[in-house]
């Protein structure tokens, strides 16, 4: 076995890589429950690949047969309903994990120097996931898929000069049809997916270059023992590999409970209108995006002007990319920054409120709350550069506090 191992290692850096990234990669020992999200996201991406592959064995990307092929998967294909629900519920769970993962980052200052690139690459993954979810969403060609495709591709009309031709280029024709489904399938399975995989790899490499942050926001490499290992660190393998494996067990139990007992989560993970065939003549009774895109939709709706609304929406989507430079306080973790912590919690509540309002019909009674929440959310980013320079902070400990 060791001669084989020596042969392989002369040609591929297997042992070296395992040492660098697992057994001698020291991670802080005070990771809490929020730190499961990263490894669970890796698990979910693999599960989406597997369930997606088996779905693609039966899916037909034409306007005549797409809806029927999905119904065939649900009723005719053996275990088809299980694979489809796995894939759809997987999407919502991925976004729950993404928001947990990002919020953890903001809470503990994981987006601050020297981890700016980890944050930016990670945020790009989030944007790609939204794009991936959108193109996937159109494929079943229910009425919701049709109108979602119609509306989102219409947003491109707003681009100056090239807007209308860009919209036609995306659709491959005047409306959402077979040409659209075929290219959206290609984007969903090949292009966006592979770029997401590459971005995930870069995200992990960038993180390992610098080392993981921790809930106290302090640098564990500052205090090393006589053997050169960080006093507050534990080797990723076996400590966090085993801990994450346990996390996988708990998470899969939750995932499976949802698939079998609440696969549509009462209309939240899968809307009722997905189950009606696409009909260009009949609009939807209520027009809402999936819950994970809802906050940005609510912000768009809050502005009573087409171009400014789109501008606000795009700004709110892209602003978080600037966070490493908007936040200027020397202290990282919100545990020692009570003002930043309150701002973050308010922004978080505003974001969740916007998600909820976005699911409601555009009635006048929601308008005020929608606008206030938008202002609070955007206000977080706009005020942060100033507040972070002057806010009082608590003394930061030298060693982690567990």
């Amino acid at each position: 076995m060791s001669r084989f191992s020596a042969w392989v290692n002369k040609r591929l850096p297997v042992d070296e890589t395992i040492r660098e990234h697992m057994t001698e990669y020291f991670a802080p020992r005070n990771f809490n429950i929020l730190y499961y999200a990263g490894s669970l996201l890796l698990l979910m991406i693999v599960l989406q690949l597997i369930s997606g592959f088996f779905l693609m064995a039966h899916y037909v990307p034409t306007s005549q047969d797409a809806f029927a092929s999905v119904q065939g998967i649900m009723y005719d294909t053996k275990w088809g309903w299980l694979i489809r629900y796995m894939h759809v519920d997987g999407v919502s769970l991925i976004f729950i994990l993404l928001y947990t993962h990002m919020f953890r980052g903001l809470l503990y200052g994981s987006h601050r120097a020297p981890r700016e690139l980890v944050w930016i690459i990670g945020y790009i993954i989030y944007l790609l996931m939204m794009a991936e979810a959108f193109v996937g969403y159109v494929l079943p060609f229910g009425n919701l898929s049709y109108w979602a495709g119609e509306v989102i591709t219409s947003i491109m009309h707003a681009v100056p000069v090239v807007g209308p031709s860009l919209t036609t280029l995306t659709r491959g024709g005047p409306g959402i049809g077979s040409a659209t489904l075929q290219r959206f399938l290609a984007l969903h399975v090949v292009l966006f997916f592979l770029i997401i995989l590459a971005a995930i790899a870069l995200h992990i490499v960038a993180l390992h270059r610098v080392g993981s942050n921790n809930p106290d926001g302090i640098d564990i490499k500052k205090h090393k023992g006589p053997d050169g290992k960080p006093l507050d660190g534990v080797p990723f393998h076996p400590y966090y590999t085993v801990k994450d494996l346990f996390g996988v067990g708990v998470w899969l139990t939750i995932f499976v409970s949802i698939i079998f007992y609440a696969p549509t989560m009462h209309g939240i993970f899968m809307e009722r209108t997905t189950f009606l065939a696409a009909n260009p003549m009949v609009g939807l009774p209520d027009v809402t995006p999936p819950w994970y895109l809802s906050p940005f939709y609510a912000m768009l709706r809050a502005v009573p002007n087409k171009y400014y609304g789109i501008a606000i929406m795009i700004t709110s989507v892209l602003l978080p990319l600037l966070l490493p430079w908007l936040d200027r306080n020397p202290v990282r973790s919100s545990r020692y920054r009570p003002v930043y912590r309150i701002m973050l919690i308010i922004a978080g509540i505003a974001f969740i409120t916007l998600a909820w309002i976005g699911q409601e019909p555009p009635l006048p009674k929601y308008v005020l709350a929608e606008r206030v929440a938008t202002a609070l959310y955007l206000g977080f980013y706009l005020l942060l550069p100033f507040v972070s320079m002057i806010e009082p902070t608590r003394p930061v400990p030298e060693r982690v506090t567990g």
């Binding site: 597997i50 694979i83 534990v234 494996l245």
Partner: protein
């Protein structure tokens, strides 16, 4: 919290660790297997594909002595309404000793067709019209003396000359080794319809 590695607990820890690792791996393997089974099963033909895989034929337009060839699972299936004269030739070929496998010993047909008529009902022959040699579609030659002076009626393959009688039993001198295959089918003379359902698993087409 320090990492416990001192030698007093060392032995117990290693045994416990090995047990836990083995137990987790075993359970993990079982779960992976249980997940793999429905995924692989999903690739089997769907109910719709299964339904499309059988063909029903109306027998009323087929007069005695006439044949119809219908597509079933992309293969030609011949249905012949055999007259009493045609049925008599089946005994003749057996008496002349010109058949390679007169008693249908090789299972090229379902058990209910293992007889000299190679069918459920003597008059109605249902068979896959593919030559057992190299898969061509043989000509149907029911007329006596048409292929050779001694020809009693049957099939003659244009590719390499294989010959069969009116039950598609292969004649000596043909390159084909076995009788032509007969599929599994239902036939009702009251309803005058036949439904071809599956390939007989032990039969070899060509």
């Amino acid at each position: 919290m320090t990492i416990v590695t001192d030698s007093e607990h060392g032995h117990k820890n290693i045994t416990r660790r090995r047990f836990l690792a083995a137990a987790t791996s075993a359970v993990g393997a079982v779960v992976a297997g249980m997940v793999a089974v429905p995924l692989v099963d999903s690739l089997e033909p769907t109910a719709a594909a299964e339904a499309a895989s059988s063909t029903t034929v109306d027998l009323t337009p087929i007069e005695p002595g006439m044949q119809v060839t219908v597509p079933w699972q992309k293969k030609p299936v011949i249905i012949i309404n055999r007259t009493p004269e045609m049925l008599a030739t089946l005994k003749e070929t057996m008496q002349k000793g010109i058949l390679k496998d007169p008693l249908c010993k090789v299972p090229q047909q379902p058990p209910y067709c293992t007889n000299m008529y190679r069918s459920r009902v003597p008059e109605w022959y249902v068979g896959i019209r593919i030559c057992n040699h190299l898969c061509c579609i043989p000509h149907y030659r029911p007329k006596k003396g048409s292929v050779a002076p001694w020809w009693l009626g049957g099939f003659h393959c244009p590719c390499h000359g294989s010959m069969y009688d009116l039950s598609a039993r292969v004649i000596q001198g043909s390159p084909a080794p076995h009788n032509m295959a007969v599929p599994e089918y239902e036939l009702s003379t009251e309803k005058m319809s036949a439904t071809i359902t599956h390939m007989y698993p032990k039969a070899h087409l060509c």
